[in-house]
Subunit: 217 residues, 2 copies
Amino acid sequence: MATQPTPAKARRIRRLPSDAEREILDAAEAALAERPFRDMSVDDLMRRTGMTRSTFYHYFRSLDEVAIALMRRVQGEMMDVATPWINAGHDEDPVASVPRAIRAVAEIYARHGRVLAAINDASVQHEAVERAWRDGILEDWIRAIAAQLRVQIERGVTRVENPEETARALLLMNTSVFVERLGKQDPPDPPESVAETLSQIWVGAIYPEALAAHRAS
Amino acid sequence: MATQPTPAKARRIRRLPSDAEREILDAAEAALAERPFRDMSVDDLMRRTGMTRSTFYHYFRSLDEVAIALMRRVQGEMMDVATPWINAGHDEDPVASVPRAIRAVAEIYARHGRVLAAINDASVQHEAVERAWRDGILEDWIRAIAAQLRVQIERGVTRVENPEETARALLLMNTSVFVERLGKQDPPDPPESVAETLSQIWVGAIYPEALAAHRAS
DNA sequence: CGAAGATATCGACGCTGTGTCGATAGCAGT
DNA sequence: ACTGCTATCGACACAGCGTCGATATCTTCG
């Protein structure tokens, strides 16, 4: 029964100093490359770093926060490659720039596929991640794309109805398809072919005449 | 320390006889109407039925199976309403039947939204559910729709390239949007407006000329 | 009608994973 | 050398899962 009041001989060894937070995030990426998010535990994660489980809680409140941190780590990169289309000037051919942006995003998924799939999973399993994704990132994208659509409507380049909802639907399509074909699947599809299919759907929805013309040729 | 070898006075009361399995599934539906799948526990679920937690395991191996059972319960209904388009005969206008099928499915999501969202969540959290959804139901749909697309290509009604991948992308779009707008959101969007947006995208991807003509008017 | 078997239900156990807490080792500044 | 500061640790309490053996009730059949 007697719990030793204080284990008098507890030999604690301090780890070499280093940026532990970053180390944990890296370990998380490594872990997610091997197994899906649902199979990752704090214990599992920390064993990779050589630190103990409790140390984890010094840096993160829970696995949610790790997922959110990873999310932000990739998010910037995504926006960057897509802005060429989002900010397309008057001189740019809007029909051609859609496939280019989609291809660029597909490339990123092809490289970070597992992590991005994991983030997606995490957003289902933890409310905090879900909010960060939906209300943070996703809504930003929708706004940006809807805005660009409205500009193009003004200019008579397209006649999409309901830019907001169209943008949302197309974006959700992209992430679902990317996660499925470039994140969870082994081996993943070639990103160009995935991008090609998605591009046709975007073009069909936004510039139907262009898609009709393209297919007629 | 001594665990009483057998609690001599354990008064066990048998529940009134009834179809327990169905009762559990109903309780699950009820629970999911209130909170997302991730917050449902066996304990929580069984307390609603008046039975104890261990009884659950007499009927199901885990919560996965409950999710799969619920999935099958709704799946039939979905296929039914969509077959009019999938089996569209020569006489039917293919362009008009797409929106009709989508509207019908949207109605189902509007009614069973919470449960369908829960199934979606479960498929992320449990491998078994994921397989049942992806390899079972989703692939069936893709095959059915791709087949119909191929028939229409033969007949020269459409020129879609890569029917399989197009079908997959459009389907994933629909489920994502339905889950988001009719399942998780409170209050949900009006199903007709969600269906309208999705329909335009489908038509744009499959019959771009029709969408162009529609918008020109 | 009463014994024998089947089965639905139960309480208790052991396990895994989470998050918290108080203790402390080693560093940084004085 | 003294005094914090903080990163790290081991131990704990708790929640949820899945299993097991016991048993109350129902069914069947002699």
